[in-house]
């Protein structure tokens, strides 16, 4: 279970969980779950286009995820955010449908892009993923304070000269960066589940940002590791375990948060 190819799986999955935990915290805080769903899912159209042109699929994924981030941020300036995301997303998928219909033999690859091939990670894929993960976490660390401020208190941030629009674009680009490398390995579906479930659970347990980020990363790691073991034993897809565990952790987090609030009310009353 810890040899050869499986070792690659463990390293990659750990890196992906850390990236997902950190970016997911901000996605949940900013209310960008829809973008977190749309960018990885829509980027798969880019891989289809790249394979049509005979390019490296990573190039297509990167191009489409960045285009998606720009589209969401650009349209979102004038329209409502969820509408901008929905329209960018359907446009990307529409193009994806076109590319796939041209290339005919792509359907099988589409499945693996949506649901991932985490057990078939090649050795030369591990380093780029870890490097990219480090880069996106470094980017978030650099803009941590303004990003935090503009996510939690947009008006105060604007007053202090932090442009909400620019922060939105920067965050979406980091998400696109994190996405383009991880999607072929873990799948668009898994990336989304890992970003939202653990971060949402962490947020309902603690309100302090650093603690919540740490907790989100921790939950994401536990989710992925449990998922890998379970998937290795049962042969069922990893995406299933990660998706369901994310939901379970969220419910636990909500129950814990609600319980603690009730306790606080009781102590205040006593």
């Amino acid at each position: 279970m810890f040899t050869g190819l499986m070792l690659n799986t463990w390293i990659t999955a750990t890196a992906v969980a850390v990236i997902a935990g950190v970016t997911g915290f901000f996605a949940v805080l900013r209310g960008s779950s829809f973008a977190a769903h749309a960018i990885p899912n829509g980027a798969f159209a880019g891989a289809a286009g790249a394979s049509l042109l005979g390019l490296n699929p990573f190039a297509g994924l990167a191009a489409f995820s960045v285009a998606g981030a720009l589209g969401i941020a650009g349209l979102g300036r004038r329209a409502r955010h969820d509408v901008a995301t929905a329209l960018t997303f359907v446009m990307m998928l529409g193009l994806g449908a076109l590319f796939v219909s041209w290339s005919t033999e792509y359907a099988q690859q589409a499945y693996s892009l949506l649901f991932g091939e985490v057990f078939g990670v090649a050795a030369d894929e591990v380093l780029p993923i870890v490097a990219l993960g480090a880069a996106s976490i470094a980017a978030i660390a650099v803009m941590f304070r303004p990003l935090m401020l503009s996510s939690a208190l947009p008006e105060v941030a604007e007053a202090r000269g932090v442009s909400a629009r620019r922060m939105e674009l920067a965050f979406l680009l980091v998400m696109a960066l994190a996405t383009s490398m991880t999607v072929p390995v873990v799948g668009a579906l898994l990336m989304f589940s890992l970003m939202i479930g653990p971060a949402a659970a962490a947020r309902s347990v603690t309100a302090r940002p650093l603690a919540a980020i740490g907790l989100a990363v921790g939950i994401a790691l536990v989710t992925v590791w449990t998922g890998i073991v379970a998937s290795y034993q049962t042969n069922w897809p990893l995406g299933f375990f990660v998706g369901v565990l994310g939901g379970v952790f969220f419910l636990f987090g909500r129950a814990y948060g609600a319980g603690r609030r009730r306790m606080a009310v009781r102590t205040a009353a006593a």
């Binding site: 949940v28 209310g31 960008s32 779950s33 829809f34 977190a36 769903h37 979102g76 300036r77 004038r78 329209a79 409502r80 955010h81 969820d82 509408v83 995301t85 929905a86 329209l87 997303f89 359907v90 446009m91 998928l93 529409g94 193009l95 449908a97 076109l98 796939v100 219909s101 041209w102 005919t104 359907a107 099988q108 589409a110 499945y111 949506l114 649901f115 947009p154 579906l189 989304f192 589940s193 939202i196 479930g197 949402a200 947020r203 069922w236 897809p237 990893l238 995406g239 299933f240 375990f241 990660v242 998706g243 369901v244 994310g246 939901g247 969220f250 909500r254």
Partner: protein
């Protein structure tokens, strides 16, 4: 002129007739429900429900039940679940939707995997996602129309209360509108209509028809009634034009087996939306923190 627009055989083809009829029904229902969806800021829920409904489709496939029931059960069930996990509050809405969607997609992965174990249908995930109006089974058409009418009836019955509670939940509550119950009923209607349209035209096109025409209409009109009418017209026009183009594209390069309908319809819808930015009168920027969309859509 017309000869160049419509390839020979367009008007005598059976699948085209069904596609044109069903496409119009779905486009109108989506547009009406979509105006409320956009006003309430629930695009993400609208899209998620269509994705989740497709999970129901693969579950039904596994269980050997008619897919129709799978779509319907998962669409309505997911709507109820979202309602319970807090979709009614603006702040928690997006996360609750995301968590429900994530879990459902996990289930989809499992069902599709188990499905491929049983039969070698690797293309299933693809068809489920993208669908096609040209390969409808005629037996689902009456059920589709019935569910479309149901969703339309709910949306129209609740229209006034829905608009008021979308624009200002506090005023609505003060006036005695059961905000939560109205929201729940509406979400169920959304679940049913989206599930059925996802089954017929695929999850992508279902989202496009729900959000695109409604968002465009809300930009160019004032007042909900006109917005609904314009949205329905845009939706039907885009769908029909998309079908015509897809039919024409049969001999187009490079593959020579037709371009997908969803590509044409999505492009037309998004293109139409972008056009509203070109006209100076419609180019008023919307502030994101306003409770209402582009133009105030006041309850008339």
């Amino acid at each position: 002129m017309l000869k160049y627009l419509f390839e020979p055989g367009f008007f005598s083809s059976g699948p085209v007739h069904t596609a044109v009829g069903v496409g119009a029904v779905v486009a109108i229902t989506s547009a009406v429900v979509g105006v409320f969806t956009v006003t309430r800021g629930q695009s993400f829920a609208g899209h998620s429900l269509s994705d989740i409904a497709t999970t129901g489709g693969s579950a039904a496939f596994l269980a050997g039940v008619n897919q129709f029931w799978g779509y319907l059960a998962f669409g309505a069930g997911a709507a109820a679940f979202m309602e319970m996990t807090g979709v009614q509050r603006r702040r928690g809405r997006d996360v609750a939707t995301g968590v429900v969607l994530g879990s459902a997609l996990g289930l989809a992965a499992l069902f599709l995997y188990l499905g491929t174990l049983r039969s070698s249908t690797t293309g299933a995930s693809f068809t489920i996602l993208f669908g096609s109006v040209f390969v409808l089974t005629p037996s689902t058409v009456p059920a589709l129309i019935a569910s479309a009418l149901l969703a339309l009836a709910v949306a129209l019955l609740l229209a006034r209360m829905l608009l008021l509670s979308s624009l200002s939940p506090d005023i609505a509550a003060a006036r005695g509108v059961p905000v939560r119950a109205v929201g729940a009923a509406y979400l169920m209607a959304l679940g049913v209509s989206v599930a059925l349209s996802a089954m017929v035209i695929g999850a992508v096109l279902s989202t496009a028809l729900l959000i695109g025409p409604a968002a465009t209409a809300l930009r160019v009109t004032k007042g909900p009634v006109r917005a609904v009418a314009v949205a329905a017209a845009i939706g039907v026009a885009a769908t029909w034009l998309g079908i015509v183009l897809a039919y024409d594209s049969y001999y187009w390069p490079p593959a020579r087996h037709g371009w997908p309908v969803s590509f044409f319809v999505v492009t037309l819808i998004v293109g139409g939306y972008l056009l509203t930015y070109a006209h100076p009168r419609w180019r008023r920027p919307a502030r994101r923190d306003e409770p209402d969309p582009e133009h105030a859509c006041s309850p008339a």
